[in-house]
């Protein structure tokens, strides 16, 4: 298939996965606003911004009244360790709600935030529009209808009614799109590149989120806090893994077990090991690219990534070390895929 088309479908898969991931985070956060303690709500925002590697808008004393001075400090510094004096000093409920409103807007509709739900969705849809001839008519219709719906609302609309319902709807729209794709799309290379994009993105996002989580709530650290049970339950719910956890372990939530499940459970649709296995499998389904060196390197690396979680993870106490390696390798995998199939510099014509 045309290299540029394959690239467009790959990015369509990535952007929609990104929008989906953020929507799920925001839905949990919106639900937390109703009944969770303020510290947990702050932790939630903190986790989101940290895994996006983004500063919240106007981070500093105005937004986080617990801070005593340094207005340039990022949110992590501002907030310090949950439960400390700084936390208790930080405003009341009205502050929480007002801040959350601003943060949700920044993450959902902000046009200048390249990672906002709106932008990810619009970019996914724009790639679909440009590659419309490569996807099924049903896929286009389902995505375009969802896009037209998002176009009609802003933060005020969703905030006054039920923000979680909005995020749930977008999440469902994307799931629906992927279901329509599975039912109607021709299984040519376009399909495999779309899937490859989704799985690489999903692995990358999971790694970033897990790293943020253990940054906030260090595992096995004598001084640090592992956070409250609900900070880890949120992570399980994010991956639809609550029931799986209860079956595999017990109703008592132990942070290391949560992470083990999310990383290694092969039956969990969004587990890290499954994303990496699927990325490797999609690569296998794609014919060798014109830059065969990058192609071979990409295939080897995909296998090595999967091996890291299959073989190294169960034996290690250094989860953070493995996640950091995975983070670097995922980026590398993306570069190799681009070099092998999309941006290859020079090629010989195939025999006519």
């Amino acid at each position: 298939m045309l290299a540029r088309s394959a690239q467009g479908l790959y990015w369509m898969g990535r952007y929609l996965e990104r929008a989906d991931h953020l929507c799920r985070l925001l839905r949990l956060q919106a639900e937390a606003l109703v009944d969770r303690p303020i510290a947990e709500i702050y932790n939630g925002w903190n986790r989101i911004y940290s895994c996006l590697d983004r500063q919240p808008p106007g981070s500093g004393p105005d937004l986080f009244p617990g801070n005593d001075g340094d207005s340039n400090a990022g949110m992590l510094q501002v907030m310090g360790v949950p439960g400390t004096a700084a936390w208790q000093r930080s405003g009341g409920d009205e502050y929480t709600l007002a801040d959350s409103f601003t943060l949700a807007d920044d993450l959902t509709f902000e046009r200048s935030n390249p990672d906002s739900v709106w932008n990810c969705f619009a970019m996914g849809r724009e790639n679909a529009r440009q590659m419309r001839h490569c996807i099924s008519a049903e896929m286009w219709r389902s995505l375009n209808l969802a896009y037209l719906r998002i176009q009609q609302v802003d933060i005020l609309d969703i905030w006054s009614a039920s923000p979680e319902a909005f995020y749930l709807e977008i999440d469902a729209d994307i799931d629906n799109f992927m279901g329509v794709a599975a039912a109607t799309m021709y299984r040519d290379e376009g399909w495999h590149f779309m899937q490859l994009g989704r799985y690489i993105e999903r692995a990358q996002l999971a790694v970033a989120l897990f790293l943020s989580q253990i940054e906030l709530f260090p595992l096995n650290s004598p001084n640090g806090s592992e956070g409250s049970e609900s900070d880890w339950i949120a992570l399980l719910r994010m991956y639809h893994a609550m029931a799986a956890y209860n079956r595999a372990y017990s109703v008592e939530v132990a942070p290391p077990q949560v992470l083990d499940l999310l990383v290694t459970d092969p039956l969990l649709p969004d587990s890290l090991c499954r994303s990496l296995d699927m990325a490797a499998a999609e690569l296998t389904a794609i014919a060798t690219g014109p830059d065969w060196r990058s192609d071979a390197a990409a295939r080897r690396l995909a296998g090595r990534l999967a091996a890291l979680v299959h073989y190294d993870w169960p034996d290690t106490n250094d989860q953070r070390g493995i996640l950091t390696r995975l983070e670097i390798h995922c980026r590398e995998l993306h570069s190799l895929v681009s070099a092998a199939f999309f941006d290859y510099a020079h090629a010989r014509p195939a025999m006519p």
Binding site: L2, A3, S5, R348
Partner: protein, 481 residues
């Protein structure tokens, strides 16, 4: 006739041909069924038909792009839900006339890039041909596959009380055919019963005919020729159509940057390397095809493409250089061409045209500016023209200066009373001016689907049907009998 409320504002004007009504106010015979249906619809039913048609366009994302000051904007083309009906006999006449015309224009192109007999025989002045900016000396001595210079043509036809007239031949990269098909899909789904009862000729097989036509142009001896559609890209106003057609004809949708020429053959970059292309349906202008031959500043084109084309290793549709045959000055000579090449009388007539390059025509034009439409030879899309009767004296005076400064750049035509067709405007039926763009395909033989894109000047009183200037579209139903 019994005047139902929704037709109360429907003013018939005897100077203007009405597509639905006879001058006395009775519906034309072939429109009786449509008229009865419209009269019997309730207001809500009509609103819902219109709403479904509009929504179908928006849901499908059928858009064209408008360039504003800041950024390009995707817009939905306004569609009127009431079809324009043509009886079979009228269509058969158009079909024959259009076939005759396209045959002629292909012969003309072969001639002016060859021995130019038509110039030597004094039928058309040399300067009209050779001074035309769309004449491409690079094409001299070349014969395209099947002698087909123009494989895809979209001819603008208008109707007045004197009958059908060709307003313009679009022989370079005509667009609009996807709207014809989208209009049909939307209208058919919204007027189901009426559509079935009306026995309308199909248009949705256009893609198959286009594919057959293009494959006939493939270089000899190629098995399973590979088609590609060359688009300027997603920012082009007709991108939706390029995408749509590429899917219909099983072509890769490529941009210049996806293509390269190696050893005289054209290849596209795929995920497995380079793959050869045999027929390129190009939807970019000549200027942007090959920077090594045409505009060197173009980043859209494919260096070496023209060499590959002239070597016969790839077919281009349409051939470069066809613009000389749809030039507004050359247009005036098409009836003479029909007589010259085919020894037949033209079936479809032109609009009376005055070439300001001729002194008497210039005088006539300047003396009658208040009655004429004056157009620049090189402009299209409704830009740069003066509609005399609708202009102020100051505008006319200013325009006259421009004409005097460079008469060869202008032609003038009488202001035509384009025929009108009923449209649903705020719940009532009102007449609006319309034109008709049928699409003609020409490979080894001529193929025409019985239908057209009908453009509507939706602003009251306006004669400008271009979508960039407030025009919309409607479906055309050619009846089976």
């Amino acid at each position: 006739m019994s005047t139902p409320d929704r037709f109360q504002d429907y003013n018939l004007d005897e100077r203007v041909y009405d597509e639905m009504f006879l001058p006395a106010g009775e519906p034309r015979e072939h429109c009786q069924r449509l008229f009865d249906a419209l009269v019997n619809f309730s207001g809500e039913q009509l609103a819902s038909v219109q709403e479904r048609v509009t929504r179908s366009f928006s849901n499908e994302g059928i858009t064209f792009t408008v360039y504003g000051d800041e950024e390009a904007e995707e817009r939905i083309i306004p569609v009127d839900c009431i079809p324009r009906l043509l009886p079979k006999a009228e269509w058969d006449f158009l079909d024959a006339g259009l076939t005759q015309r396209l045959r002629t224009l292909n012969l003309f192109l072969q001639d002016v890039y060859g021995d130019a007999g038509i110039v030597a025989d004094g039928v058309i002045p040399a300067e009209v041909v050779y001074e035309c900016p769309h004449y491409r000396p690079e094409m001299r001595g070349f014969t395209p596959p099947q002698g087909t210079w123009v494989a895809v043509c979209g001819t603008d036809v208008v109707r007045t009380n004197d009958g059908f007239r060709v307003l313009e031949d679009n022989l370079r990269v005509p667009s609009g055919v996807s709207y014809m098909i989208a209009n049909r899909k939307a209208t058919k789904a919204s007027l189901r019963r009426l559509y079935r009862d009306s026995r309308v000729q199909e248009v949705e097989h256009y893609g198959r005919l286009l594919q057959e036509t293009l494959l006939e142009l493939a270089p000899d001896g190629r098995e399973n020729p590979r088609l590609a559609l060359l688009t300027p890209g997603v920012y082009n106003s007709a991108f939706y159509e390029h995408m749509f057609l590429s899917r219909e004809i099983g072509a890769e949708l490529v941009e210049g940057r996806d293509l390269m020429v190696r050893d005289g053959f054209v290849y596209m970059r795929t995920t497995t390397g380079l793959e050869r292309i045999d027929v390129l349906y190009r939807r970019v202008d000549d200027d942007f095809l090959d920077p090594s031959v045409f505009r060197s500043d173009s980043v859209l084109g494919v260096p070496g493409l023209m060499d590959a084309y002239r070597a016969g290793n790839v077919a281009l549709a349409n051939a470069p250089g066809t613009g000389v045959a749809d030039d507004k000055s050359v247009y005036a000579y098409v009836p003479d061409m029909v007589r010259y090449y085919l020894n037949e009388e033209p079936l479809l007539e032109n609009v009376e045209t005055h070439l300001c390059r001729n002194f008497e025509d210039l005088e006539y034009t300047l003396d009658n500016l208040d009655k004429l439409v004056v157009k620049r030879v090189g402009e299209s899309g409704g830009y740069g023209m003066l509609v005399g009767p609708h202009a102020t004296p100051a505008e006319r005076a200013e325009y006259a200066e421009q004409v005097r400064a460079d008469p060869t750049d202008f032609i003038s035509q009488p202001t035509l009373d384009l025929s009108r067709s009923p449209c649903l405007i705020e719940g009532n039926f009102e007449p609006r001016h319309v034109d008709l763009r049928p699409f003609i395909l020409h490979g080894r033989e001529t193929r025409i689907v019985a239908g057209a894109f009908c453009r509507v000047a939706l602003r009251r009183g306006s004669l400008v049907v271009n979508s960039s200037q407030g025009g919309g579209g409607k479906d055309v139903w050619v009846l089976q009998d």
